[in-house]
Each structure stands twice: as C-alpha cells, then as structure tokens.
C-alpha cells in the first residue's frame, strides 16, 4: 500500500485542490493559500521520488529549498497584500485594476 503511486496520487490531489483554490477564490490571501498547497505537492513529489527511485538525498535538498522559497514568497506576497489593503481598503482581487489600460 505504501508505494510510489500512492504518494504520487496524494501529491496530485494536493496540486489539483491548490489549483482549484487559486481559480475559485477571489480573496488574495486565499489565493496565497492555494499557492502554498501547490508548492507542498511539488516538494512531496521530490521526496517520494528520492526514496523510491533514486538512492541519494538530492530530493530532500530540493525540498528544503522549496520550503525556503515558499517562506520568502509568503513574506513578500503578504507584504503586497497589506500594502494593497492600505490603498484600496479591500483584498478582493477584482479591485486590482490600477495597471489596466
């Protein structure tokens, strides 16, 4: 039961749910939550392949770097969200039309 395919299916479900969160939510913070789910799916795939296919720890290293980059992305993204809220007084994504035209 614990095989590569089960981990890949769990990771696929995580990715699809993250994609659906990103598409269906209109709240900028909720979209960031979807991005976190997608990054977790990718990192889980790396570690699963590292255990079941290759024999080295390079997948673990890559997963650690994904975690680092996700932390940096969350910090900058939430700073942008807070700045956007200071300007527009909302975090609805349809209000972000300042660069249109």
């Amino acid at each position: 039961m614990m095989s590569l395919a089960s981990y890949l299916i769990i990771s696929l479900i995580l990715f699809v749910v993250g994609l659906m969160v990103m598409i269906s939510r209109k709240n900028i913070v909720a979209i960031l939550l979807g991005i976190e789910l997608i990054l977790n799916a990718a990192a889980l795939n790396f570690v699963a392949y590292s255990r079941y296919v290759t024999n080295n720890l390079d997948g673990h290293i890559f997963s650690l770097f994904i975690i680092v980059i996700a932390a940096a992305e969350a910090a900058v993204g939430l700073a942008i969200v807070i700045r956007f809220f200071q300007i527009k007084e909302t975090i609805h994504v349809d209000e972000a039309t300042q660069l249109r035209n």
């Binding site: 614990m2 749910v17 994609l19 969160v21 709240n27 913070v29 960031l32 570690v47 939430l78 809220f85």
Partner: protein, 178 residues
Amino acid sequence: MFLEFLFISSAVLTVSCALGVLVVKNIMHSCVFLLGSLMGVAGLYATLGADFVAVTQIMVYVGGVVILMLFAVMLTGGTDFISRAQNLLGLAPSMGNKWTYGMGLFVGVVFLLTNIKLLMGLTQTLPTKTINNEFPSTVTEIGHLLVKDHVLAFEISSVLLLGALVGAAIIARPRKQN
C-alpha cells in the same frame, strides 16, 4: 504496522484538510485547515524517512507561514468587518461565487483526469526498488551535501531570504501622507 497507521492518518489529514481549504467560507477557518494539511504533509515526510525535511516543514510552515497568513487576515479584515456588520469576518463575498467555483471545478477535473492517465502509464514503467523499512538519520548527510555539493544554492538562498526580508519591510511600511 505503526508506519502504515502513520501513513494512512497523514494521508487522510492532508487530503481532507486540503478539501477544507477549498470549500470553507471563512478565511480564518481556511488558514486553520491549511495548517492541518501542512501537518499531514510533515507526517508523510516522516513515513518517507525524511526526518529533517519533516521537522523543517513543521518549523517553517506551521510555525511561520501559517502564522504570517493569520496575521495578514487579521490586518486586512477590518473594513469588511465594519461594512458588512451582519456577516462575521471572512463571510465576505470575496471568497468566490458560483461561477468561479464552477470554473475551478472544471479545470480541476480536467487536470485530474489527464494526470491520472499519465500516472497509470508511469507507474508501470518505473523500476520498483525493494525498500527496507529502516530509517537512518539523514541530518548528517544533508549537512554534508549542503556545504559540499549545493553550497552555491545555499548561499544564494540566504541572499534571497535577506532580500525578501528587506523587501517585505519596505513594501508594507506605512507611507507618509502626501
């Protein structure tokens, strides 16, 4: 036996909490469901023998990123709370409507079906290695790899974190009224 129990409970926690992030209407509850999902992924890392990655996942994601998200929700929920006094925080209509949910469901189902088709072909061609059920500690070897083979990426990630820290502080700081 314990390993299978850990695997099943972590998988159920991960998938159910991810679905909770998708369907729940309150943004605060959504963040808490994300926390559960990340804890489940940490458990899956533990069943894969990646102890260092599991602990880092808990420390960085559960202790850092989700708390940051909760702070952002609290800092940006203010006028929603005042202007729509009937609804509590997060019941705002900005969480999506029927049209966006239908679009998301369509894209998700198409993506799921195509990837399951791909996975069915993939799992039959991959070599199935015999796995022993002993988990040696990976911390020493990860430390050696980080300062030998991957030292450039290690240093670049430190510069990236510094830039993200300074950039986030500069972007979010309150401006002078002009």
